[in-house]
Amino acid sequence: MTRTISVADTTLELAERGQGRPLLFLHAGEGLAPERPWLELLSRRFRVIAPWHPGYGNSPLIDDSGSVDDLAYLYLDLAAALKLDNAVLVGVCFGGWVAAEMMVRSTARFSHLVLVDPLGIKISGREERDIADMHALVRAEYLKLAWADPAKGEVDFTQLSENELAAIVRARNAFTLYGWKPYMHNPRLKRWLHRIDLPTLLLWGAEDRIVTPAYGKGWRQAIPGARIEMIPQAGHFPHWEQPEAFVERLSAFVDKNG
């Protein structure tokens, strides 16, 4: 089910499925793609709430502009508006960055944090790049870095409707707006990750070359008590390439940590 909700004087479109413990799912830079299996699989045991980030789907940009800070406050407001309690927060890729920005501000309504191949922090030196420059790659090269099996990521744009294409273009613009400079990270975020006082799982596609498993280890070291698990035969989007393994690992982590 999809609906729109008014939060903090802006409008958010949400996909909602299932019953049980609430799980807020923050999507990747590519978009939400609710028709793909992972939301359905998650909804078998969670009440899944998955907003389209402002600029994606039918969620307008905040004040025609906006930043990752704005998204963090917006989703904390959303959690309050929905009266979430003991919720699981899941963020993938760009959504992982947003989730971390939320959690350094307040973990009050959440019980677990799951970051899946997140962007968002700077680990290496100023002349090294932690995050592949997705904007300097032709699509075929990008797919090779982002997918264990690049064929799974291919989209035949010529077969899509005008509305679908418009949504893709708007999403690309929004992703760029949020992450152009500094490139897909907040230079100050790593400094404050110690504030995250929830059981935290980093799930990583073993073949991710947008942000590699080595980058994941940097995240693990910065969040107290965090653990990292690799998902084989997956790249930057393990939830997309290996949805069953993704949901299995996530559920096991939530079960084991109350």
Binding site: S65, A166, V169, L177
Partner: protein
Amino acid sequence: MRVWYFSEMAYHPAWEQGLKHGSLRVVLPNSNFDPKVGHGLLNRYLDEFALCDEVGLDIMVNEHHSTSTCLTISVPMALAIIARETKRSRLLSLGNPIANRPDPVRVAEEMAWLDVLSGGRLEMGLVKGAPYEIAPANSNPANLMRRYWEAHDLILKAMSTTDGPFNWEGEFFHYRNVNIWPRPYQQPTPPVWMTGLSVETGRMAAERGHVVGTLLSLSAAGPMFEAYRKRAQELGWRAGADRFAYAAVVGVGVTREEGLRRANLAADYVRTSPIVAEPFTNPPGYNSLSANIAMLRAGGKRGGFVRDRHGNPVEQTTASIEQLIESGTCFAGTPDDVYEQIKVLSDSVGGFGHLLMFGQGGFLDHRDTVANITLFAKEVMPRLRELNQEPQKAVAAE
């Protein structure tokens, strides 16, 4: 009509390597630039600009970055030299890519300084910049035009304010004490120009009364100028030809053959300019939603902006000189041919008052460039002066 000679100060010795590399811009390593050869070329190109003053042409300078197509990386730097070497030519900066500049007040200072230095000969283009300029500047393309308009407003306010300092706390730019010294020679500001290819740019320029320029493609010029005239009329004024500029490659010769040969060499500018590594050609947010949808529909293929008389894209990288004359990209032949081509094109778009003359483009050597400039000034310019001549809307200070 005024004619503004212009050269990108090309570094054509690297073009062959660029073609092999698949990109003349952004990613072509500068090991392909030989500083000694560059030293000779820069000085040669500046001599060619200086010649324009002697023969009665105006001068335009632009800038690009990280590219073998254009060694001018700073309009104000080049114009500072040209201002000292010339006495009469008006000097057009076309322009400062202001959405890629971190410090608009600095832009205002530099333009005011140039205007004072040149005794009020400056005309000031505030431009969006080409898509492949985003990567060298690393400016965010998703809010490019918001930043453009804020920089535009701040620059004009900084140049025209005489009772400063004033405060500026906008979305992108923050200053508490704006009070530029020197202030410009022309009051309240030098004439302002914009560039573009779209109807929307035509409308936006009309709302501010700026000169609007477009380049190399008559199919873009017509609708853009028409949109400008219509918007001006809605706002209660009539836009004369002096509000419109058109850029084209020009090759003139004593014989038709010689003119075509010169234009054909200079036209390599048009042929090489779109050869850019693909990811840098369409940064997200730079082009409109509808243009992006059309590109995705076409399987991600992006056409150049040169179109023929029927609006069909012309393959820029391989176009013949005949095709480029047909598309309004080049004016070429004898002085009579060139005058006639300019007049026909101008008439077909409702009349433009400024011709931006690409009179040099890579492999056209110094002798040919000098001959091209001199012959044009002697045989074509006097006739063009009469064409579309109307009182200037923006009058320069004496």
